[in-house]
């Protein structure tokens, strides 16, 4: 374990940036869900790092991290189910084709 909090935060920021970019740039719905997972985990990493370097926050950090993981799992489940349902309907995983709500 590195002794520097900044290293963890930089890594977390990088992961978050990659996730954001992936979410905005990829057209595939599955890839976008994966990007969201990446962002959530980046945040999780930052939270755990804060917990590890500040003993007073350790308990809270672990709790938040567990909560985020649960939410991430739930989000992945529901998200994938929706994507599959749409895919069956539209025969495409590409989100820019899902524009029938526009008019």
């Amino acid at each position: 374990m590195s002794q520097s909090l900044e290293a963890y935060l930089v890594l977390s920021a990088l992961l978050f940036g990659i996730g954001t970019f992936g979410f905005l740039a990829r057209r595939n719905a599955i890839a976008m869900l994966m990007s969201i997972e990446l962002m959530l985990n980046a945040v999780n990493l930052a939270v755990i790092a804060f917990g590890a370097f500040t003993p007073a926050l350790a308990g809270h950090a672990a709790l938040i991290a567990l909560l985020v993981m649960a939410v991430a799992a739930a989000e992945a489940t529901v998200g994938l189910a929706i994507v599959i349902a749409i895919y069956r309907n539209r025969r495409t995983p590409l989100v820019d084709e899902y524009a029938s709500m526009r008019e």
Binding site: F23, R27, R102
Partner: protein, 661 residues
Amino acid sequence: MQLTVDQLLVVAMLALPLLGFVVTGLIGRRLYARAWIIAVPIIIVTWLIGMFIVYQALFAGAYGAEGLRFTLYEWIPAGDFSISFNFLVDNLTAVLLIVVTTVGMLVHVYSIGYMAHEPGRWRFFAYLNLFMFSMLLLVLAGNFLLLFAAWELVGLSSFLLIGYWYNRRTAALAAKKAFLVNRVGDFGFALGIFAVWTTVGTLNFVEMPGFGPGAFELLPGQLQAGAIDPWMMNGIALLLFMGAMGKSAQFPLHVWLPDAMEGPTPVSALIHAATMVNAGVYFVARSSNLFAHAPEAMVIVAAIGIFTAILAASIAFTQRDIKRVLAYSTLSQLGYMFAALGVGAFTAAIFHLLTHGFFKGLLFLGSGSVIHAVQGEQDMNRMGGLARRIPITHATMLIGSIAIAGIPPLAGFWSKDEILAEAFLLHFEWVWAIGVVVAVMTGFYMFRLMGKTFYGPSRVDPAVEPHVHESPWSMAGPLVILAVPSVLLGLAIGFPPLDGALHHWLEPVFHDALETLDIHHHEFQLFGLDGLLMLVGATAGALGVAGAVWLFGLLRVRSPQEQRVERLTERARPLYRASYNRWWFDELNDLIFVRIGSLFARALWWIDVRIVDGTVNGIAAVTQRTGTGIRQIQTGRVQNYALGIAAGLLVIAISYLFLAR
């Protein structure tokens, strides 16, 4: 709540006609020719109850000077504002009940014969019962609002009955006209009631058991304490009088009554001669304690009354339709009553209301019998010589005509003479002078009607001539019965003058008002001013009758002088035309309200379409255009939205970094 027998009977008197209306209205169609089988017996029972109440009030004195006052239930409870369904049966109400129930009952019986050939007559009888209910409620009501409700109900029944032949365009238009003109009056009436509420704080006429003092008891005190401005008082009186003007067809709201003759004749007799049109007179008399405190308003009442009297009499001179002559005559007599109210002769007004109710009811029913005899013809130029063909109708109508002309000792003489004499003695000499002229005119136009209808050679359509016949007994009977009070009523209750039974009955009712006006009872002096005035009144009537007999004939005594009539008409051509065209009041109204009114309405319409609608439509258009523009943002692509979120997040983060430090 426990009601006494008398109170129960008062309620029954209202409930029975209402029941008759509902039942006849619901199942009348199945009764076919016997549509009257429920409606008429119910009114006969109502009449019997009415007579009992009248006996209790006037002869037995069971209700005392105060009258029978009771509350059925609280009608509108709303905080401080509380209106009850309460009744006031004093001597004034009882006197009105005499004419309302009696004429009402006779007209119902008469209608059995008159409407016998009419399909859909169940509707007629249902409406007639509704009218009886409304009219009885009107005279029994113990507060302004209940009276107003009844006031509107009689207006509704009047509307329904004028428009009874709704597929006849003129009848439908006449019904509409009556309703609209009455709205003008009711507008003032409603404002007057509001004003009474805001100034006095109660709408009860007098103190009701358990409800504190009424308006007429509170008003004098408040006026004295300066809580009410005297001009406010005059304003209230005039606003209330406006309602009376509409219902009793006084100038300038008189235009609806002659047109109302489009309804069946029994309706004209009951509603537009004997009862409903008297509502205005009754109301002003009921509010005598209010009007007495508004002396300026009373002068206006007298002026409008006497002006209507002479105006209508002048129009009655030349009308050809037998019912229209009678309609204008009604206007003229109502004018007399208002003149009497205006000068402070309340008893004389009610006296005339009573006698007029009977003899004018008789004349209208008689005219109905004439019209029935000549198969629906109403133009007097196509009548003539009917005296021997329909003797009962002729005899009873002759009695009615003598009564209205004011020839002693028939009923009309006593009441009309009392009005004129009182006007003179109370120093309204101008009212008296015009009244005497109207008396001459009344005698003239009534005997013109008699002459043209009954005497001289027949001008009846040759096709109809052989079928002229006397009416059945259901019609002739009421005529004979009505002829009795037309002869005797004046002697029975108005003799000796100023000291008859009626004067004693009404003395407690008008006592306070007369006290306020500082009018005191005086003894009638036959060999003094009173006797002289009476002589003048009788002479005036006789003069008019003589003039008409001279021109239009009487029985076999004198034959009509048609050339002479022609010559006289020719000499006064402009006057004749003015009279025949009713002084162009309908045309004037047409000009003011229809032509000029429609110009004004069109201007308003332009404002509505261009400015009001323009504003609304403009706002809508701007909203729509803005929406179309902003809608471009909504691409429907998830990633565009996500970019927005990310950009927003970035802005927040950056501003936190650079600004919050």
